[in-house]
């Protein structure tokens, strides 16, 4: 067993894990943050996307021990004091989700894109989410949601 200490959603957490434990397993099974999803076993679907030290990564491709000393943000950490993140608001307003299973990962990927600033083109948006698979929406309203959020956050900054 290895000890992993990291900051998750602004809170210091520690867990004892087998060396083979994936970061997504640490987040879901050890820390009980089940908003992050697992949709495949080959790192294709992106449902497990979280932010690791500010970068969107698929938490099924990172070992828990590799995240030792890191800062992790999950979907649960995107809301601040009960207020939705602009990207969450936009997904809601634009009907950017149906079954909701890809949504946490999709939102985390989109949040990283927004954090980089600017107003991405539709093509850039579609490229940015190519590592996240959605089977319900045909991506149409996801792209609209990200465009909407980008426009709004660009207006703010």
């Amino acid at each position: 067993m290895e000890t992993v200490a990291l900051e998750v959603n602004g809170v210091r957490r520690e867990a004892q894990v087998e060396p083979r434990t994936l970061l997504v397993e640490l987040i879901r099974d050890h820390l009980g943050l089940t908003g992050t999803k697992v949709g495949c076993d080959t790192s294709q679907c992106g449902a497990c996307t979280i932010h690791l030290d500010g970068k969107a990564v698929k938490s099924c491709t990172v070992l828990a021990v590799q995240a030792d000393g890191s800062s992790v943000t999950t979907i649960e950490g995107l809301t601040h004091n009960g207020a939705l993140h602009p990207i969450q608001e936009a997904f809601w307003a634009k009907h950017g989700l149906q079954c909701g299973f890809c949504t946490p990962g999709m939102i985390m990927t989109a949040a990283e894109l927004l954090a980089s600033g600017g107003t991405p083109t539709d093509e850039e948006i579609r490229h940015a989410i190519e590592g996240n698979l959605c089977r319900c929406t045909g991506y149409e309203n996801i792209v609209r949601a990200i465009r909407e959020a980008a426009t709004q956050t660009a207006g703010v900054s």
Partner: protein
């Protein structure tokens, strides 16, 4: 269509793009799906699956696995011999069905790779999976056949003893004699072999189940990724376990998409309930993606020999389809119904075709189970009919638009009997309207000019149409029963107005992304005149909801929501009686409007629904003969199916050097009747289009000759990514159905049904200068390139 959302509810909410009420829990990660469930003392299960497509199961040695650290117990099929095989609940009518279905774990023989043969229960998922590798099975491989045409050929390996030539059923509809005569008399006959390839539904959430058993009462609780929890309970208790239905509670937690694949009873659901009892602890199993690909149902997989007769002017006079439907190694819950009722009976499409005949042979092969996948039979029918329209146009040198117009069922011909529906009729329609609108949006004539110019420059642009009609809200129950469906197809709802005026709706329907909690609430809020936030919709738990058949076949608006609507009408009637009593006037004088009941002509003196609900719940002073409380349960069995329609248009460019197809534009004009929430309907249409386009261009399950699934992960099975699509241009016309009082038809599958032939027609149109008249799907660069090379040779 760009729809802006509405924040502030008004009294009339039907037709308003209300933001979904279920979304806050989904966008914050708070929603609990199956794998998020943690039960006290819960053990984890992993399943050993057959690596052979056809084999006898010899001895199974489990000692080493059982001794592995963390393992609680290991089980094989013999441990569950007392449980019946799973039922096949829909068998094709009018013909014998030779039924072989799976067991919780197979005992003697497996007939496809991925069939479960042993299960490990362990303290952790990792320990369970580790121990799988320690189980030894003496396999005796048997000859394999994966292709449906090869399976019925003489000398093919026999998969199930009872099914001679591997035929599950041999079903026909239409008029064979008239069709042959019309074909013989036709000016032209086009013939085409069409492969509607096997697809893998691929919801992003895989399947799973958890169960606990309470020995003191003999009660099971089973959580499952299901589109139909009530049906699951019925099938598991009455058919598999042979116990009272009241001894099991089935719950579908938040479900991450299904597309049909989560309708059915699967071996693992039975297994979890049985294991929870055996080990005396709650257990959970969640599918890996590979398991999802090998062990969850697939869709489509037809080979069709199509013959179409026409007059010189493009009038279609006959259509004959001889179809082989691959149903896999064993039958899933409703497998035989899909390529029969939902396929053969829809082969008239949007057209007046005087003579139609269809023969379907359902075939066993050593492949995974095939059952309904989004659209279920109707995409296959629409593909055949819409390819037929283009083949006729090509043969006669006519514009595909002209051929469609010439054959459309005219708007004044409804209700229309295509002669195939075993007594049902198309309800309402105006096919020309959606076609004209789609052509207008796409700029059809301009495109043809542009295409002509591009051809001169050596570029291959193409346009493809699909003018579909489909069948939603499949019912009435008696009709479905006559089609071999082994149950009813009504839906139920209970509406209660509590003392505080808050409304609780329970439905037997199930939502796994469709947004029932919003759309049903919109109907209730509108009809009752209460704020949307005062209405709560509960579903997906057999405890606390009335029986329902579940969500599939675009039936939740056209059947489930109509049950809700029926309940609300009766609540309003009772509210009027109570108001009359409270206002000391005759009920005939009471008007119910915008949440208030008042005496006609005196709107200021009425009672609000909240006041009436309070009085009803207190029960101090009720009219003679009325019981306390505003509460009503409705069971709605529609008198007919509904028949949405529309025209989709795809524009593609084909790179003749590489064969690569680029989807340049996609225009959809659907008519799904009255729209409850345009945001939700547009979303359904978008998603459907994506899946339909994906069948045309990218997706296809592939088995090798040994029955190994080559596309068994997201690395090989090409579900589309965001950058594969242009913006989808979606519009609609509104032709309400007269089947139900809401006028709704259903919108969940239109996109999938329409998109596939539109895209294939576009690619074939692009390659018309090369003389190419058909390419089988998926139209990958390689396939298209080969077709181009062949045509050039």
């Amino acid at each position: 269509m760009t729809t802006e959302t509405t924040e502030a509810p008004t009294t009339q909410l039907i037709g308003k793009p209300i933001k979904r009420v279920e979304d806050p829990r989904l966008i914050t990660g708070a929603a609990k799906y199956l794998d998020d469930l943690k039960l006290t003392g819960m053990a984890h299960v992993a399943i050993l699956r057959s690596l052979y497509a056809h084999a006898r199961i010899g001895a199974i040695r489990t000692d080493a696995a059982a001794a592995h650290p963390g393992v609680i117990a290991v089980f094989t099929g013999k441990d569950f011999e007392h449980l019946n095989p799973l039922p096949c609940a829909w068998q094709a009518a009018g013909t014998e069905n030779f039924v072989a279905t799976p067991r919780a774990l197979e005992i003697d023989r497996v007939t496809f790779t991925g069939a479960g043969v042993a299960a490990v229960v362990a303290e952790t998922q990792a320990a369970a999976e580790d121990a799988l590798g320690l189980i030894e099975v003496d396999w005796e491989p048997l000859p394999v056949v994966t292709d449906p045409e090869a399976a019925v050929a003489e000398g093919a390996p026999q998969i199930h003893e009872a099914a001679a030539s591997n035929v599950v059923m041999d079903w026909t509809c239409g008029d064979k004699e008239a069709t042959e005569r019309a074909l013989a008399e036709a000016d032209v006959v086009v013939e085409q072999r069409l492969v509607n390839q096997r697809l893998i539904p691929t919801p992003i959430e895989t399947r799973g189940a958890a169960a606990q058993y309470e020995p003191s009462t003999g009660e099971y609780t089973v959580w499952m990724t299901s589109q139909a929890p009530h049906v699951m309970r019925l099938l598991m208790t009455a058919f598999v376990f042979g116990i009272s239905e009241t001894k099991m509670r089935c719950i579908a937690p938040q479900v991450g998409g299904g597309f049909g694949s989560k309708i059915y009873l699967y071996p693992e659901y039975v297994l979890m309930a049985a294991l929870a009892e055996k080990v005396g602890r709650p257990v959970k199993w969640i599918e890996t993606r590979r398991e999802n690909y090998v062990a969850t149902t697939h869709g489509r997989d037809h080979v069709t020999y199509l013959r179409v007769g026409a007059k010189k002017d493009g009038t279609i006079t006959a259509l004959d389809a001889d179809t082989y439907a691959n149903l896999g190694g064993v039958l899933s819950t409703i497998a035989p119904g899909i390529p029969t009722t939902l396929y053969g009976r829809m082969l008239s499409g949007a057209y007046r075709i005087p003579a139609i005949h269809c023969r379907v042979r359902g075939v066993y092969t050593n492949t995974g189970m095939v059952d309904a996948y989004r659209g279920a039979g109707r995409p296959e029918a629409t593909y055949a009919v819409e390819r037929a329209a283009d083949l006729v146009a090509r043969k006669l040198g006519l514009d595909p638009v002209e051929v469609r117009r010439r054959n459309f069922i005219p708007a004044d011909a409804f209700p229309y009997d295509p002669g195939l529906l075993n007594g049902l009729k198309y309800d309402t329609g105006d096919y020309e309207k959606t076609l004209s609108r789609a052509l207008e949006i796409v700029g059809y004539d301009d495109f043809r000019a542009k295409q002509e110019q591009a051809r001169k420059e050596g570029r291959y642009l193409g346009i493809g149409l699909s003018s579909y009609v489909e069948m939603c809200g499949v019912a009435p129950s008696a009709w479905a029963g006559g089609e071999g469906w082994g149950a009813g197809l009504w839906e139920s709802a209970n509406v209660r107005v509590h003392l505080t005026g808050k409304v609780v709706v329970t439905t037997g329907s199930q939502s796994h992304g469709q947004g029932h909690e919003t759309t049903m609430a919109q109907v209730v809020a509108s009809e009752l005149g209460v704020p949307l936030e005062d209405v709560t919709v509960e579903h997906s738990d057999t405890q606390g909801t009335p029986f329902g058949y579940g969500t599939y076949g675009s039936r939740s608006a056209a059947v489930g929501t109509v049950a809700v609507h029926t309940s609300v009408q009766r609540i309003k009637e009772k509210a009027r009686r109570l108001a009359a009593h409270m206002l000391e006037t005759s009920v005939d004088d009471i008007v119910y409007e915008n949440g208030r009941a008042y005496a006609r002509g005196a709107p200021d003196t009425g009672k609000t629904i909240q006041e009436i609900a309070g009085a009803a719940a207190l029960g101090y002073d009720l009219p003679e003969g009325d019981e306390p409380f505003l509460d009503d349960t409705a069971y709605y069995d529609p008198p007919n199916c509904t028949f949405p329609f529309g025209t989709h248009v795809a524009i593609v460019e084909v790179d003749a050097e590489t064969g690569e197809v680029t989807l340049e534009r996609y225009v959809a004009v659907d008519d799904v009747g009255t729209v409850i929430n345009p945001l939700v309907v547009d979303g359904q249409v978008h998603g459907g289009i994506a899946q339909g386009v994906a069948q045309a261009l990218w997706e296809g399950a592939a088995y090798d000759e040994d029955g190994q699934l080559l596309t068994s992960s997201l690395m090989e099975y090409a579900i589309p990514k965001a950058q594969f699509f242009p913006p989808l241009e979606v519009d609609r016309t509104v032709t309400p159905t007269d089947v139900n009082p809401l006028g709704v038809k259903g919108a969940g599958e239109t996109g999938t049904i329409a998109a596939t032939p539109a895209v294939v027609n576009a690619v074939v149109d692009a390659l018309a200068p090369l003389g190419i008249q058909h390419i089988d799907m998926p139209l990958t660069a390689e396939r298209v390139w080969r077709a181009i090379e062949e045509a050039k040779a």
